[in-house]
Amino acid sequence: MKKVALLALVFVVLQSCNTVKPYEMQKINDPEMKLSARTTEKFESTFQVYREGAAGANGGKSGGGCGCN
């Protein structure tokens, strides 16, 4: 696991050397490229928290606030 984390870090640092300029971000800024769940996914995430043992790591809640798993 440590090796994977280290490799990921090296990968990120290498990529960071290749900065994409703000005027080159037209495609990255497309609404479909957002690095978050869609607003309308909210209710799906809620039922999944109740029907599955796992939760979290999606920018939302990972537990608490409901009588769920």
Partner: protein, 516 residues
């Protein structure tokens, strides 16, 4: 850049630290670990804050963070059915429907600050939770007048013995409910928009559960906004309103003589052979003395633009929960205890079949789970802009907790622009989990175990979810609705199938408005 690298290295060591320590189950070690996590987080937040303060002193042109107020209306309808209801010990109907609605309003307070309110309402009907009290009587009411005052007294009597079944909904008080939720969030952006901090507060209430939560976080953008780090923490202080299955509630109220009083007075209890008996005594049952459930979470995320067409982000949460983590109305039946029933004796041989329409087995106990739980999910999003008309959105999550559940989640979405304003997106999600070490099916637990549940949400299963979405976007918001511009309309529908037989459908409609 030096400061940025330090922050990246700290986050990585923070993640490795959690992974190295994830297998411990001792409470003291957990507490120590959470303290270390808090100290590390505090250090990280302070570092990022200090760095942001230095950078913020440059005078640059400021674009408002939010030009005008924005409003989201969201509505969804969900229904499910299955055969493993936790309320009746791992078998019975799981039929449930839920209608939910949310209004989210984001208001710019000035150039830098945005206040967001999210108000939600959810109304459900559930066959399984109605079976907290599965017994239905045929009743008859009559009125009598007495005395010189002519006072009228109404008396209700049972005209037939109570009948119930785990395979049908009863008319129990818990057959439905409403959830109210409120979330408020305040966010402040720095002058150069590279640093954001926020604070949030939440309240929610349903008939048997209340929650108060608060938290905050920081986000730092750097490397020409190619990179982003976020840290946040939240605390939820929740409280159960205890509701026990009817037979255990009566036992709790009246003790060993409970069959002589109240609901069970005069009601025949049968053994496995259908003979009337007075031997049912759920002595394993002990009432809960505390109803609190506290949750402490810390989250870190890192996002990176890789190329002009690719970006990804990594999320990691650590959640520590303590208190009442069991659900108090979920029954458990032990394999080493005799079975007792209320209803019609002829249905006892078919108890585990949906053909049983007239008998209900009395609980041996309720679900018992440890009073602490540590959860560690790690997620990765990777998006790729394939062409002017097609993008690829992917997500993967690994999850681990100290109750023995590990899971993998993978999802993929392929948005295709079919015109300037319309996009359709097919999607697929696969989920698989191992069982919690305290799970066993109906009547497989032993009364000598310390912890037990027959809740199939904690069993080993896989689930597939597939569906589609249609999105309409008008960036100029030319269409009007009550004076607000319609910027976006999104509809999505998904079908969900779990390998234990549970299946569900969910449809969601969302409108995004902007005010001028």
């Amino acid at each position: 850049m030096v400061e940025n690298r330090v922050v990246v290295a700290d986050v990585t060591s923070f993640q490795i630290y959690f992974l190295n320590n994830a297998n411990s189950s001792k409470t003291k070690q957990r507490t120590l670990r959470m303290t270390k996590i808090s100290v590390t987080l505090l250090f990280l937040i302070t570092s990022v804050f200090a760095f942001a303060q230095v950078k913020d002193t440059t005078g640059v042109f400021k674009k408002r963070v939010l030009e005008s107020s924005e409003v989201d209306f969201l509505s969804s309808y969900y229904n499910q059915d299955g055969t493993h209801a936790a309320v009746s010990g791992g078998l019975g109907t799981e039929k449930l429907s839920d209608f939910a609605s949310n209004i989210v309003v984001a208001v710019p307070l000035n150039d830098d600050d945005v206040l967001t309110f999210d108000v939600g309402l959810s109304a459900y009907t559930s066959a399984s939770s109605s079976n907290v009290n599965p017994f239905m009587n045929s009743t008859k009411s009559y009125s009598t007048s007495s005395g010189a005052s002519g006072q009228v007294t109404t008396t209700t009597v049972n005209t037939s013995p109570p009948v119930g079944t785990p395979w049908q909904a009863s008319s129990g008080a818990s057959k439905g409910g409403t959830l109210y939720a409120l979330n408020a969030n305040y966010a402040h952006s720095s002058d150069n928009r590279n640093f954001i901090w926020n604070a949030d507060m939440s309240l929610s209430k349903e008939f048997n559960y209340g929650s108060f939560g608060f938290g905050g976080g920081v986000t730092k953008l750097f490397n020409d906004k190619n990179s982003e780090i976020s840290l946040k923490t939240n605390i939820y202080l929740d409280n159960w309103k205890i509701i026990y299955p009817t037979e255990l509630k009566e036992y709790n109220l009246y003790g060993n003589d409970f069959q002589l009083y109240s609901y069970f007075s005069g009601v025949a209890i049968m053994d496995q052979n259908g003979n009337t008996t007075a031997a049912y005594l759920p002595s394993t049952f002990k009432p809960w003395t505390s109803t609190k459930r506290d949750s402490y979470s810390a989250s870190a995320s890192f996002s990176q633009v890789l190329t002009k067409k690719t970006q990804f982000s990594i999320f990691m949460d650590v959640l520590q929960q303590q208190g009442m983590l069991s659900t108090p109305y979920q029954r458990v039946y032990f394999a080493d205890k005799p079975n007792y029933y209320i209803g019609k004796a002829q249905y006892i041989p078919n108890y585990q079949s949906p053909t049983n329409t007239g008998v209900f087995q009395l609980a041996d106990d309720i679900e018992r789970m440890p009073n602490t739980r540590l959860k560690v999910p790690i997620g990765l999003r990777w998006n790729y802009y394939i062409s002017e008309n097609i993008a690829l959105r992917t997500y993967y999550r690994y999850y681990w907790d100290d109750w023995g559940i590990t899971s993998h989640t993978a999802s993929i979405e392929l948005p295709v622009k079919i015109s300037e304003r319309f996009t359709v997106y097919p999607m697929y999600r696969y989920y698989i989990q191992t069982a919690a070490k305290y799970f066993a099916p109906f009547e497989k637990h032993l009364s000598t175990e310390q912890y037990y549940t027959s809740d199939y949400d904690l069993s080993a299963f896989n689930a597939k979810q597939y569906g589609f979405g249609v999105n309409y976007t008008d960036i100029f918001a030319n269409g009007k609705f009550f004076g607000m511009g319609i910027k976006n309309v999104d509809f999505r529908f998904n079908h969900y199938v779990r390998s234990d037989g549970l299946n569900a459908n969910i449809g969601t409609l969302g409108f995004h408005f902007t005010t001028d």
